[in-house]
């Protein structure tokens, strides 16, 4: 195993661990109070998708549709619908950027997947060994992602309002990605246009065998991509999977209180409340149960 392969294993593991840890962090957060935002996709009611539109709503069956949620999310993922609707100047560069990334991640996953299947003795189409199709696939992904990233960077740099509202991290992310793309273009143009080398490298990674030699461009590409992947879950770019929580677990969470919620609230009322303001501490209570129960208010 050479150093580049070792780097790959480490950064891929860091990426996976980062995603899992972050997802667990949100999933294991205490039950939150309802904070949904309408409209909801489908729902049981009328225009706003709300059961509150109905009289005696608690006596009626609640209708929810995962399919309707998926339709909304699919429109968000594949067409960036809200950006199109509310921020048209940013829509095209952002759409190109995201589609480029989808294509590139799909290419990487296909090559790794082929390697895994092959290592397991399963038949794999020769198309994934490298060739014109992979070359076009990679070029399309790289082209869209590069154009998109350059467009986003240009807007962020040249548009005063966007520049003012940006954090240093926003520039760091784009520059890091552009560095990955530059190395990838170097590799595509000068060393591995048909991704045969990439396919062989992915197969070696999947089978834990000795990785083949690679050009400096390709090595740079792998190193930078690994760095990006290891960092990705800890940046705001993690929205590619945390969107599940922001939309499904917060924005669309209109489940009325049930026994599970009640049990959870009973537990949380036992938690210590550390806030220091006098009105919170009134009555000397230490737990949330004490805080809720204590406090007649001060007469003016």
């Amino acid at each position: 195993m050479n150093l580049v392969a070792l780097w790959c294993y480490l950064t891929l593991a860091a990426f996976a661990a980062g995603c899992v840890l972050k997802a667990l962090r949100y999933a294991a957060a205490p039950m939150h109070l309802r904070w949904e935002l309408y409209p909801l996709p489908a729902g049981s009611g009328g225009f706003g998708g709300s059961y509150f539109e109905e009289v005696d709503w608690w006596l009626r069956p609640q209708r929810r549709s995962r399919l309707a949620e998926l339709r909304v999310i699919a429109a968000e993922v594949f067409t960036l619908e809200t950006v199109r609707a509310h921020n048209r100047p940013l829509w095209l560069p952002s759409l190109a950027f995201h589609w480029g990334l989808y294509l590139l991640f799909a290419l990487g996953a296909a090559l790794l997947g082929a390697g895994v299947l092959r290592a397991a003795g399963a038949p794999v189409t020769a198309v994934l060994d490298g060739g014109v199709l992979l070359s076009a696939w990679g070029a399309a992904g790289l082209g869209l992602a590069t154009l998109g990233a350059l467009g986003l960077l240009a807007r962020r740099t040249l548009e005063p309002r966007l520049r003012r509202a940006s954090a240093p991290a926003d520039f760091v992310h784009l520059v890091l990605l552009l560095a990955v793309f530059a190395a990838s273009w170097g590799s595509w143009l000068g060393a591995d246009r048909h991704y045969a080398g990439a396919a062989a490298f992915a197969a070696a990674l999947a089978s834990f065998s000795r990785a083949p030699g690679m050009s400096a461009w390709t090595a740079a590409q792998v190193v930078l991509l690994g760095l990006f992947l290891a960092y990705l879950p800890w940046s705001h770019m993690a929205h590619f999977f945390t969107k599940y929580f922001t939309w499904h677990s917060v924005r669309w969470d209109d489940l009325p209180a049930d026994r599970r919620h009640a049990a959870s609230v009973r537990r949380t009322l036992m938690l210590p409340a550390g806030w220091s303001a006098p009105h919170v501490r009134r009555g000397g209570g230490r737990t949330w149960g004490d805080v809720v129960g204590g406090g007649e208010g001060e007469k003016r």
Binding site: A29, P30, M31, L33, R34, W35, L37, Y38, P39, L40, G46, F47, G48, S50, E53, V55, D56, W57, E81, T82, V83, A85, H86, N87, L90, P160, R164, A165, S166, A167, P168, V172, H236, A238, H239, T242, K243, F245, T246, V250, R251, D254, P256, R259, H261, L271, A273, G274, W275, S276, A277, H279, V291, V292, G295, E296, G297, E298, K299, R300
Partner: protein, 536 residues
């Protein structure tokens, strides 16, 4: 919106200056004629030089909190330490279990794409004042957390961006927490689901629960008074019963038959919960409810117990402890009365508080809570009331209260009522879940210290007022009376100020009121003319 000469950056919040980003009266979104000729300076109120020495107004020249600089360095240091401690608590599983997950998600995933900016009526209405940008406040919080929050370190701080933790930052950030109406229109347009409204709300919570900083009208005169004497209006149960007795007499006279409000009836079908402000400011609203309940044959009651006759829950906007205290007392009163359901009157935030946010605290066995809107739509749809829509032969438009539309998804129910009683109903653009906030949301309508009321009228309510005028663009003049239906007490409070400040009665014969008043005005067994056309 044109760019201002030197718009502040996020890092500038901690850089001392007289005013970081003053309200620019010339930049405000223009109004249609004849309101375009109104000089905003006639509505604006500049803080006096003396007052500026007493309270901090260095954010935008406005003071909502009347925050005074501590007398010495020790006082400042203690407040800054409390702010840093509060930042840690805000991300603590024990201290902030109620909102930790949504807060973390919103803090950690903003890409600063600014898709939310044009959705914000304050930012747009102000002509693009940089500090009202939805992400500005959130980014100050993010930067402070990256440096002083749990896991804060220099690398995270460098990536997030610089901000200095000093008293100038604290004072401006505290004011900034009250430059957002929590309407959550920004979240609706966010492709990721980041909720800048929630961040503003949680910032208010930190200030209240850790530093004891909250607007007097919301806390001392608001939730504290409600818990102590029964209502944020200061009305005791005895005073309330006197007031309602008077309302019953007045209503009986107006409608031509005896109307009486039942009190504390155990086992009634409905406990009606009004915003107590209605009894004092808009008595025709609880009066109309009483008429409808009586004529529709509903078994109902009001409660005269402390907190049980005031639906408001200001804690929703700034403090979890106060929020939970009020909500649990209201639910307990409903349980003791053994009513089948609580119907929440025309008060948007009370809906959000009692039906949604408190739901999991109250649990599955609590008395169910229902909005007046479907309740009223069902009564109207059942034919229990004899209605003649021709009695409402004037243009009507509907303001969707944010908490009803975006907060509960109630859009169609009030329209079902309006279609039955208001033949000249027309929509605003946009409306429903896409509505603009009236500008009085999140407590602003009841806050008027220093020059905050002038700011609320000129900046926070600007987009809504324009939208209302545009809804009546085909009949703009004072020759046609017009009705702005606003089924929410706080929204009505804001419209009262807006219409008064712009002279909308004189210029457009424009008045406002609730939904139930329109229904009663259309009832054929009621003496004609329940609505009184006069300036409010």
């Amino acid at each position: 919106m044109s760019d201002r000469p030197h718009p502040p950056r996020v890092a500038d919040i901690g850089v001392p200056s007289e005013v970081l980003s003053p309200v620019d009266l010339q930049a405000l979104v223009p109004l249609p004629p004849p309101y375009d000729g109104i000089d905003a300076r006639t509505i604006w109120k500049e803080l006096s030089a003396e007052r500026r020495t007493e309270v901090d107004a260095s954010l935008d020249g406005v003071s909502a909190l009347s925050l005074a600089r501590p007398a010495d360095g020790d006082g400042e240091r203690r407040q800054l330490e409390a702010l840093a401690a509060g930042l840690v608590r805000l991300l603590g599983r024990d201290d902030n279990w109620a909102f930790l997950q949504p807060l973390l998600l919103s803090l950690e995933h903003c890409t600063h794409c600014q898709t939310c900016a044009d959705a914000c009526p304050l930012f747009v209405g102000s002509g693009g004042n940089e500090v009202y940008r939805p992400t500005y406040r959130s980014d100050v919080v993010r930067r402070l957390l990256a440096r002083y929050g749990p896991g804060g370190n220099p690398i995270r701080a460098a990536l997030a961006g610089r901000v200095e933790l000093n008293w100038t930052t604290l004072a401006r950030l505290a004011e900034l927490a009250y430059r957002c109406t929590l309407c959550r229109r920004c979240m609706q347009s966010c492709p990721i689901g980041v909720d800048n409204g929630l961040i503003a709300r949680e910032l208010r919570k930190l200030l209240s629960q850790e530093l004891g900083i909250a607007p007097t009208d919301l806390h001392a005169k608001g939730s504290e008074q409600q818990l102590a004497v029964g209502s944020s209006t200061g009305m005791s149960p005895a005073a309330l019963r006197d007031v309602v007795e008077f309302i019953d007499e007045e209503t009986s006279e107006r409608v031509g038959f005896k109307v009486s409000t039942p009190w504390d009836r155990e086992g009634a079908d409905v406990l009606l919960l009004h915003n107590a402000g209605e009894f004092l400011s808009w008595p025709e609203n609880p009066g109309a409810f009483a008429v409808i309940m009586q004529q529709a044959g509903i078994s109902w009651t009001l409660s005269s117990e402390l907190v049980g006759y005031d639906a408001v829950n200001y804690g929703l906007w700034y403090d979890d402890a106060q929020f939970a205290r009020v909500a649990t007392r209201q639910a307990e009163i409903a349980r003791r009365l053994k009513v089948r359901k609580v119907v929440i009157g025309e008060c948007g935030h009370a809906h959000k508080a009692l039906a949604v946010v408190a739901d999991r605290i109250l649990g599955p066995d609590a008395v169910p809570r229902e909005s007046f809107a479907p309740f009223l739509a069902a009564i109207v749809g059942s034919g229990a009331l004899r209605l003649d829509p021709a009695r409402n032969d004037f243009p009507v438009t509907l303001h969707d209260p944010c908490n009803l539309a975006r907060g509960l998804g109630i859009v169609e129910a009030p329209r079902r009522v309006l279609r039955a009683v208001a033949p000249r109903f027309r929509e605003m653009t946009p409306h429903g879940v896409d509505n603009y906030c009236c500008g009085g949301g999140s407590g602003f309508a009841i806050m008027s210290p220093n020059n905050f009321a002038a700011w609320r009228t000129l900046v926070a309510g600007r987009m809504k007022f324009r939208q209302v005028l545009e809804a009546f663009a085909d009949e703009p003049g004072p020759d046609v009376p017009k009705y702005l239906c606003a089924p929410c007490s706080n929204c009505k409070g804001q419209f009262r100020e807006l219409l008064r400040a712009y002279g909308a009665w004189e210029r457009s014969r424009l008045t406002y009121g609730g939904l139930v008043e329109l229904v009663v005005n259309a009832m054929t067994d009621v003496r004609p003319g329940y609505l009184e056309w006069e300036p409010h």
